[in-house]
Symmetry: C2
Subunit: 171 residues, 2 copies
DNA sequence: ATAATCATGTAATCAGTTACATGATTTT
DNA sequence: AAAATCATGTAACTGATTACATGATTAT
């Protein structure tokens, strides 16, 4: 009985990026994270290059020399093991159902520590930032991803509305 | 012109916990994180004790000897600087408005990589997990926090419904 | 008496951040 | 000609994880 290959979320997301656009480069994978609307992963070289090297060592990623001139390039693709591990990560419903990290939720539960005026000013500012973010044209990507992103932003606005009503009504 | 004191989210949340229940102990703060419904912070001793020590060094937290018998205890409270820093962190609307990390969103955008049957089975399992989590009595805490948590879970269910409809309709 | 909980911390390890460094190619 | 982008990586640092370690107090 072999152990399942456990991947962190960044590892899983990296394998998915490689699967999506192989042959691709570590640079391109890093750019995808840096350009994503989530500020959660920086997509820095210091994170992505070592991570891909580790996954090559584990036999999940294959790098072949793809230089066409003088410039070095390693063309990445998934091995069969890597593809399987990626699918296990992607379809992990239990992890997917977890509530993750939300910087607003983390703060909202503690707004009773400030004055009503401070709280209301905070909520106004958050609403404004959320509205701006929803308007901003992120991701020059597929209509499919745009549609999913739209559900995220719309749900976020709806949640904010409910939260706002609840918090303002607190004495 | 003095620099604003920048806090990580774990640092901010720790200061808030101390403010909420001072005098309190590092152990109690760690327990709060461990018991919270978010799996994001483990609340391990290895994270919390060094963090509080750092904040004592920075003059944000004060620890006074609170031993009443043989057992060591450090009673924690915020300094004036710590209280101010906590408020700046708590009322940081820009950071609060960020979308954070959501393990479902991270996966949802890539479900076109699997078969329709795999995708549908995944969505069924996620729905079940979300429903279970919403039913579970977490947080033996105030009605106020319960109410906020309820808005989180309800919004999550609504978002899932929209996402589910969108993804299943994809060919 | 034993087990659980309170309370403190450290050690080894892993993973991510910013910043730096190099050089090729492409765009303006 | 200069600036931007492609592409590779490393170094120093910070912070979080698991696991370990100790001992006091409280509950069963």
């Amino acid at each position: 009985m072999k152990d399942a290959i456990e991947l962190t979320d960044l590892e899983g997301a990296t394998l998915v990026q490689i699967a999506r656009s192989s042959p691709t480069t570590a640079y391109a994978v890093a750019r995808t994270f840096a350009d994503s609307p989530s500020e959660f992963w920086s997509g820095s070289a210091g994170a992505v290059y070592p991570l891909i090297k580790r996954m090559q060592t584990r036999g999940l990623v294959l790098g072949t020399d793809g230089a066409d001139g003088k410039r070095a390039r390693s063309d990445l693709s998934l091995t069969a093991t890597g593809d399987a591990a990626m699918r296990v990560w992607l379809l992990d419903a239990k992890r997917a159902a977890g509530i993750g990290f939300d910087p607003l939720r983390t703060r909202a539960v503690h707004l009773d520590l400030v004055t009503a005026a401070e709280r209301d000013a905070f909520l106004d500012a958050v609403r404004e930032h959320i509205a701006t973010a929803a308007r901003a044209p992120v991701w020059p990507d597929s209509p499919r991803m745009q549609a999913i992103h739209a559900t995220v932003m719309s749900a976020r606005k709806a949640w904010f509305k409910a939260l706002d009503a609840l918090l303002r009504s607190s004495q």
